[in-house]
Symmetry: C2
Subunit: 203 residues, 2 copies
C-alpha cells in the first residue's frame, strides 16, 4: 500500500530508501547514508576544523496544538509540515554568505526539477543579488555521483521548464554545467573546494 506526501510524492520507508546499489565504482560509495547525513557530517568536520560554519535549518512546522503537562515538557499534539520558503543550508565561509539546497534522485539519466520549488529559486536569486554564494548540491543515488550547480545555472533550467521546456536536467547537461564533487572519507562531500573556485571566478 502506497502513502503519499502532501505534494503527491510517494512515501518510501527508510528500509527501502537505503537499499544499496549493486554498482561499486569507488571505495567510499553507497554506504547507505542519505545526502543529508553526509552533508551534516561534512559540516561538522568544517566546524571542528575551523573551515566554515554551515548548518542545516530546522524543518518548518506549522504547530496547531500544544499540551503543557504538569512538571514535564510541552508536547506538540498536532502539527503539519510547511513548505520551506528558503533553502535548507546556510552559513559563513571566509566572511562570505553561503546558501544551498541539497537534493537526490534515484533517476540515473536526468535530474527532475520537481525537487525544487519557486520560492527556493527566487530565494537563491536574491542571495546572488546581495553578493552571496548560492548553489544546489545534487546527487544521483544510483551512481552515487554528486554535483554542485550554481544557482544561475539552475535558474536557466528552471526558466526553460517554465517556458514549456523539459521538466528535468539531463545527466549530460548536469555534467557540462556543474562541477563534480569527489567523494572522500573526511570530509565526505568536500563542497568547499568547489566554492573556492566559484569565489575565484566571481569575486
Amino acid at each position: 500500500m502506497a502513502f503519499h506526501y502532501p505534494n503527491g510524492r510517494r512515501f518510501v520507508p527508510q528500509a527501502m530508501e537505503e537499499k544499496k546499489s549493486p554498482l561499486k565504482k569507488i571505495s567510499f560509495s553507497n554506504r547507505g547514508k542519505t545526502l543529508e547525513d553526509d552533508l551534516n557530517e561534512t559540516n561538522q568536520y568544517y566546524l571542528a576544523h575551523g573551515i566554515a560554519v554551515i548548518h542545516k535549518k530546522p524543518t518548518p512546522i506549522q504547530i496547531v496544538d500544544v499540551h503543557y503537562p504538569k512538571r514535564s515538557a510541552a508536547v506538540i499534539k498536532e502539527a503539519y509540515f510547511k513548505q520551506a520558503s528558503t533553502t535548507d543550508y546556510n552559513g559563513v565561509y571566509k566572511g562570505k554568505y553561503i546558501d544551498f539546497e541539497a537534493k537526490e534522485t534515484k533517476n540515473s539519466s536526468s535530474f527532475p526539477l520537481k525537487n525544487f520549488h519557486d520560492h527556493q529559486i527566487e530565494h537563491m536569486k536574491h542571495i546572488v543579488q546581495h553578493d552571496g554564494i548560492a548553489f544546489v548540491i545534487i546527487r544521483f543515488s544510483a551512481m552515487d555521483d554528486i554535483y554542485l550547480m550554481s544557482s544561475e545555472q539552475l535558474s536557466f533550467y528552471w526558466k526553460r521548464m517554465k517556458e514549456g521546456g523539459r521538466k528535468s536536467i539531463t545527466l549530460q547537461e548536469v555534467e557540462s554545467s556543474s562541477r563534480k564533487i569527489t567523494l572522500g572519507f573526511q570530509p565526505r562531500i568536500d563542497y568547499i573546494k568547489v566554492v573556492d573556485s566559484l569565489i575565484a571566478e566571481n569575486f
Copy 2:
C-alpha cells in the same frame, strides 16, 4: 495556575504578554507587537527593498510520531521543542554573513543572561572567527527600548557570569556597550544602519 516551559521559565499566555505599558514616550512605541513580529516585518521590508536577505530560522522540533492519513496531509501527532544550537536569524547583507539572536525582557533595570545559552554564545564566537557579523538585539519591553550588542560584548558579560559574576547586564552597562536602535514606522527596527557602523569599524 502557572505552567512552565521545560527550561523552567513560566508560560505566559498571549493576552498577558501583550499588555501595554502605560509609558508612551515616542509615537511608534508599544503597539503590542512582539520583538519577533517587528523583526519579521523589518526583514520583509529589507527583502522587498533590496537591502538585505535575512530570515528567521524555523523553531527546532524533535518529531516522534507522524500519521499519514489517506488522501490528506501528514499529521505530526507527537513532537517536542528542542533547544536551538545556533541563533534565530541569519542572512546576507552586501555579501557579508549576518547572524543574530533577538530577546526581550520585562525587567527594566537589567537584562537577564538566562535569555541565552552556551551553544548560542559558542556559535556567535565561531561566526566572528570566520569574519561573519554576529550580535544580539535586546528589547526592554517596559520602555520599548531596543539595543544592538555585538557578540564580543555579550561574550564579555557571559564570561563574567561563568566566573561567578552577576547573572545579568545592568541597563547602564547595556547603554554604554551597545547601540540604541531608534524605532521607526518602516522599517520598524532599522538594525542594518547599526550593522553599517559595525562594518565600518571592523572590516
